[in-house]
């Protein structure tokens, strides 16, 4: 996989999967625009990256209405994007009986609406590279299977896969491919935080449901890079499961 000289925007780049993806893309030669809320944490990501020409932008994706304008501005300053990765996401482990409308809306805002507005921004003239662009969103196996206490999360990730398919059809004429990765459980700060709500036996049960064990961020970042690069030039509207066998059962 070669991403030499290509400009890629990565959301959620300050930690976990977004950070690992940015680092991998830099090693593949890409110039990466790191997007996150906290500049100091983005700076830490940049320190781990290879190559030159990376930049960072502090932005809260809850401000979804401002996302298309942001893309336009960043493309004119950083260069039109050959890749867009929406790695920012929120999770919640909460029984449906205590899940409020606010809980659902909060998850949808980042997991779905922000993704849609990023794709909308990508359709603007000059935002994507003339040769084409690949957009990859980070979904979850919880969009195709489910578990208790994940109603809002599963619903938002399933909505995201619907968005991917519809957007892929609509944006093909703009030379924009749209795909998703659907990871199983992998080690990340978000998963670690989530695990505090689980008992040791519940964590063991999750591990046992992954035949290849719990994944690492690099396992998922590699799949994202594959979908971004020309290796996936004929792939759009796909949801690539990366789950160590979780959904094979």
């Amino acid at each position: 996989m070669d991403m030499t000289g290509r400009a890629v925007l990565v959301t959620g780049a300050s930690s976990g999967l977004g950070q690992a993806t940015a680092v991998l893309l830099s090693r593949l030669g890409a110039r990466v625009l790191l997007l996150g809320r906290n500049v100091d944490r983005l700076e830490k990501t940049r320190c781990e990256m290879a190559g030159e020409g990376h930049a960072l932008v502090s932005f809260d994706l809850n401000e979804s209405a401002a996302i298309p304008d942001l893309l336009g501005k960043q493309a004119s300053e950083f260069g039109s994007f050959a890749g867009i990765v929406h790695s920012a996401g929120v999770t919640q482990t909460k029984p449906l009986r205590v899940c409020s409308a606010v809980d659902f809306e909060g998850l949808y805002r980042i997991n779905v609406v922000a993704a849609a507005q990023l794709l909308r921004g990508a359709t603007r003239r000059g935002v994507t590279a003339p040769e084409g662009c690949s957009a990859v969103v980070v979904g979850s196996v919880m969009s195709v299977v489910a578990d208790t206490c994940l109603s809002a999360y599963s619903a938002s990730k399933a909505a995201l896969t619907g968005l991917v398919r519809a957007a892929a059809l609509e944006l093909a004429r703009d030379k924009i491919r749209v795909n998703a990765v659907l990871p199983g459980h992998f080690e990340s700060p978000m998963a670690e935080k989530n695990a505090t709500q689980l008992l040791p036996e519940q964590i063991r049960a999750i591990e046992q449901r992954h035949p290849l064990g719990i994944g690492r961020v690099e396992d998922v970042a590699g799949a994202i890079a594959f979908l971004l690069a020309d290796t996936a030039r004929w792939i759009t509207g796909s949801c690539l499961v990366v789950d160590g066998g979780y959904t094979a059962q």
């Binding site: 909460k94 009986r97 205590v98 208790t148 206490c149 505090t196 709500q197 689980l198 519940q202």
Partner: protein, 75 residues
């Protein structure tokens, strides 16, 4: 902390009969106390008392009184 209100909220989270939960009750014996019930109680404590309770802390609670102490400590 209004203990009566807390007990009422716990009953609601567990879908137990109103007024059926008392301070000295063993959590394991409560109507509706299972993994989903426990997570519902964690959520209510977070929402109404601003305290994030971890699963292992909850696992160390034997009675409703232990739960009240945990919430009071976190506030």
């Amino acid at each position: 902390m209004d203990k009566a209100l807390f007990l009422e909220r716990v009953a609601e989270a567990l879908r137990a009969a109103p007024g059926s939960i008392h301070e000295g009750d063993q959590l394991q014996n409560l109507e509706g106390w299972d993994s989903i019930g426990a997570l519902s109680v964690i959520a209510l404590i977070d929402e109404h008392y601003g305290t994030t309770v971890e699963a292992r802390e909850l696992a160390n609670c034997a009675t409703v009184s232990d739960l009240i102490r945990l919430v009071a400590k976190g506030r």
